[in-house]
Symmetry: C2
Subunit: 144 residues, 2 copies
DNA sequence: ATTTGATCATTGATATATCAATTATATGAA
DNA sequence: TTCATATAATTGATATATCAATGATCAAAT
C-alpha cells in the first residue's frame, strides 16, 4: 500500500507539472497579446527550425499524432502563421512553411519562451535537470 | 542556445512520459475488456477511497477543473459506475458514490493498476523515485 | 505490368482540458 | 434583515488527444 501510494503520487505530479507548465506558458502568451496556444508555438518553432517540414515529420518530432497535427496546422493556416505547399516529388505529402507573419511571430516570441522555460527549472542545477531527464527517459522506456 | 535546448528537451520528455503512460494504461484496460478510460479510473479510485465525495472536492484532489469533472462523471453515470446524490445540508453540492458495479470494477481493476504503475518505475530505486517527485514538485512550485 | 504492402493527410467519433459565463445556493458583512 | 461576496455545478466555446477508417500515392514484390 505504501508503494502504491508512492507511484500514485508520482503519476499525479507528472500530470500536474504538465498542466501548470501549460497554464503558465499560456498565461504569459495571453498577457503579451499573442494569439497562439502553447501547442501552436511548438509547431511554429519546429517549422522555424527546419524551414520546411512535412506533417508526418512534424508529428514524429513533436510526438503528436497526425490527426492532431492536421488540426493544429489547420488553425495556424487560418491564422496565417503557416502555409501548406504542394510537393511534386511525393504527392502524398504536404510541405509546411512559415509565412512572413509566422516568422515574425517566432522571432518576437522566442526570447520570452526561453525565459518561460527557465522559470520552470529555477533553482535546479544542470546536474539535477540532467537527472530529471534521465529518470523520465527511463520511465518512457519502461512504458513504450 | 545550449541551455535552451536542455530545457526544451525536458519539457518534451514531460509531455512524452504522460502520453506513453496514458497509452500504456489504456492498452492494458482495453486488453482486459474494461470499458473505462484512465481518467475515469482515477475518478473511480478517488470515490472508492473516500466513499462519498463532492465534485469540487474530487476536482481539487485530482487537479482537474470542475467542467472536466462534470463531463467525466456524466460518462461514468451513463456507464452505471457512479451515482449522484442530493445533499440536503448544501443544495449547491452533489455527492458522488460508487454503484455496486463501480465498486466491483474498482476491486477487479486495482491489482492491475498497481502493476501498471510499477511498470513505469521498473529499475528506479525508491531513492530515485523520491528524487523524481522532489524535482517535479520544485518545478510545480516554480510555475504555480 | 500488376499486385501487394506501406505511407501520408484527412475525417469521424469520442474523450478530456480550459476559460468564461450562468444560475442557484450559502456565507459574511453592514 | 438586506446586500455583497463566495461557492458549486453546469453549459458553451474552443483546443487538443487518440484510435479507426479512408482515399490517394508511393515502393516493393511478383
Amino acid at each position: 500500500m505504501k508503494d502504491e501510494k508512492l507511484e500514485g503520487i508520482l503519476y499525479y505530479l507528472l500530470e500536474k507539472v504538465n498542466k501548470v507548465s501549460r497554464r503558465y506558458s499560456q498565461k504569459v502568451f495571453d498577457e503579451q497579446g499573442w494569439d497562439i496556444t502553447k501547442d501552436q508555438w511548438l509547431v511554429l518553432k519546429k517549422i522555424a527550425d527546419n524551414h520546411r517540414i512535412s506533417q508526418v515529420e512534424l508529428a514524429r518530432a513533436l510526438f503528436k499524432d497526425t490527426a492532431a497535427i492536421t488540426r493544429i496546422i489547420n488553425l495556424m493556416v487560418d491564422k496565417k502563421l503557416v502555409k501548406r505547399e504542394f510537393r511534386p516529388d511525393d504527392k502524398r505529402q504536404v510541405e509546411l512553411l512559415l509565412t512572413n507573419k509566422g516568422q515574425k511571430m517566432f522571432d518576437v516570441m522566442l526570447p520570452t519562451v526561453v525565459e518561460i522555460r527557465k522559470k520552470g527549472v529555477e533553482g535546479l542545477s544542470t546536474i539535477e535537470t540532467e537527472q530529471l531527464k534521465s529518470l523520465l527517459s527511463r520511465m518512457i522506456q519502461n512504458l513504450e
